[in-house]
């Protein structure tokens, strides 16, 4: 406990507080003394109030939930497809040669450029959003799964040959565990991209409850408190997803010998 207390009073921690506090104070003062266009700039207290009001109405929670559900279903879809293609390309030379070049070509297109096309093919609603989020999550998972399986060490492969492992055994007992760290970093990246894509999908496709939508609405009605609230929430969710992914990763990779 004392270590935690000490870290909160450390020089480092106090220094870290300086800039954010200065920003907050300057921001509050500017809005208080109307140094800038107050209609536009909401004060920190206004943001807090807006948070309290929205939280009490329960609206905020449902928006949050809607965004998260969308994000995670897209992530599940995309990463599952990515794992399949990535391991197919990693273990089979035929699959690699067949799909590799096409995949590399498709990967070059900035993922948001597909949105208008997706909206024609899948409509403007929820399915289109999930498909798009899935697409964003798909690429990093394929790349990392593929590279992970490909980087299995020669010695390990030779051992499996000596033991006459079947293809499935080789994959399950050697390739998969060896590729796991890379696969996890792919999934981690996918989670980050999926969240980015969730916001993008909410901006660009049909309005439906969600954090991105909250911000777009706020912007249209010039309610900056809503927009800022959205920014903070977007950051918090991104941060929590990140932290959760790191936890899960650490748990599943705990068998690894740490040498750092």
């Amino acid at each position: 406990m004392s270590a935690i207390a000490a870290s909160f009073t450390s020089l480092r921690f106090r220094r870290g507080l300086v800039v954010p506090l200065l920003v907050l104070v300057a921001w509050e003062l500017i809005t208080h003394y109307k140094l800038a266009n107050v209609h536009l700039l909401a004060s920190p207290t206004a943001v807090l109030k807006s948070f309290a009001v929205q939280a009490k109405e329960g609206e905020l929670f449902s928006q949050l939930l809607a965004s998260l559900r969308r994000d995670l279903s897209g992530f599940a879809l995309g990463s599952l497809a990515g794992l399949l293609l990535g391991s197919a390309m990693g273990t089979s030379r035929v699959a690699d040669r067949l799909f590799g070049p096409s995949f590399d070509a498709a990967k070059q297109v900035a993922v948001f450029a597909w949105i208008p096309l997706i909206s024609v093919w899948f409509g403007n609603g929820e399915p289109a959003k999930v498909v798009f989020i899935g697409l964003a999550a798909f690429y990093p998972v394929v790349v990392n799964t593929y590279q992970g399986i490909r980087s299995v060490s020669r010695e390990h492969v030779e051992v499996t040959r000596a033991f006459r492992f079947s293809r499935l055994q080789t994959f399950r007992k050697v390739a998969l565990p060896a590729a796991l760290p890379a696969i996890f970093s792919g999934l981690h990246l996918a989670l980050i991209y999926a969240w980015l894509a969730t916001l993008g999908a909410e901006y660009l496709l049909a309005p439906a409850p969600g954090i991105g939508n909250l911000m777009i609405d706020g912007r249209e009605s010039m309610a900056m408190d809503k927009v800022l609230l959205g920014v903070i929430l977007a950051g918090l969710i991104g941060f929590s997803l990140n932290a959760a992914a790191a936890r899960v990763e650490a748990y599943f990779l705990r068998w690894r010998v740490r040498n750092a």
Binding site: R97, F112, L117
Partner: protein, 292 residues
């Protein structure tokens, strides 16, 4: 054979060994053709099939042309766009935006990364707020930036700069932090001045990491440019896509998507080339790692 055709880095020697293992000549010949088939040509099968299916589908109107235009129509639109100069106009505008925003982001990112890397004090002051800001996805800032900056050019510059700043700063910082201790000890043994230490040891050792950041930053910059243009623009490649979508001219949408892909590829390859050129003096390490 079943194990042998697993794809783990099989070398020519392995292939030869596999051939020796198989005695009968026909099987060997078959294996030879099989391997030959696996050469470069195979990569074209999927695109060719897709294209054929696409062409047949639109010829027989299995799908309405508004939903899936014929490949020929896309090619024609692409050529038309090139001929009329519209494409180059929009392309130039997009590229200009990336150039300004990316340069801005890189300069700020390197300055921030270097100053945080060299001074513990600067890092203490800035890293918490930097971390907080970088936790919010680039797109999270977009509505706020649109309110404050409007939807003019400055919005694009700021968003693109921000998108490239974060990875550049993080990688620069990491690079400086990971300069091997013994390099610094050698420099100390030679009684390098602080300036010499920075110029001869720290910066050269940091350049590869900075390049990783730059490449990642450029990808992010291009991604955010397209998004900003989709959302708030009246020119540029992203706008071409939105415009085509509104007119239900998917041939225009698809040709713009192709251009977006080609430009993304060229930007990345260009930077990779520059990187190899600048780092010629270095033994080759693959620092790019995974990810897109």
């Amino acid at each position: 054979m079943a194990q042998v055709d697993l794809a783990y880095k099989i070398t020519a020697a392995d292939d030869a060994a596999a051939d020796d293992a198989v005695d009968s000549a026909p099987v060997r010949r078959l294996a030879f053709y099989y391997r030959r088939l696996l050469g470069r040509g195979v990569g074209w099968i999927v695109p060719a099939l897709t294209l054929t299916l696409w062409a047949v589908a639109s010829r027989h109107e299995w799908v309405a042309p508004q939903i899936l235009p014929a490949p020929a129509a896309v090619a024609q639109t692409l050529l038309e766009q090139i001929r009329s100069g519209d494409l180059f106009l929009n392309f130039g505008i997009s590229l200009g935006r990336v150039a300004v925003g990316f340069t801005l982001g890189c300069v700020l990112g390197v300055v921030l990364g270097v100053s945080m890397g060299l001074s513990r004090r600067v890092e203490d002051y800035l890293s918490p707020i930097f971390n907080a800001i970088s936790q919010v996805p680039v797109l999270g800032w977009l509505p706020l930036a649109m309110m404050v900056l409007g939807i003019g050019e400055s919005l694009k510059f700021v968003i693109i700069a921000h998108a490239s700043l974060v990875p550049v700063a993080i990688n620069t910082l990491k690079g400086i932090r990971s300069v091997p201790r013994n390099y610094i000890e050698v420099a100390k043994a030679f009684q390098f001045s602080k300036r010499q230490l920075l110029r001869k040891v720290v910066f050269p050792a940091t350049v590869p990491a900075i390049f990783v950041g730059l490449r990642y930053g450029l990808t992010q910059a291009w991604l955010s440019l397209v998004t900003v243009e989709l959302l708030a623009s009246s020119e540029g490649l992203g706008f071409m896509i939105v415009w085509g979508r509104q007119l239900f001219q998917l041939d225009l949408v698809l040709s713009a998507i192709i251009i977006v892909g080609v430009v993304g590829l060229l930007l990345d390859r260009g930077l990779a080339r520059l990187e190899r050129r600048l780092l010629r003096w270095q033994p080759v390490w693959d620092l790019t790692g995974g990810g897109t």
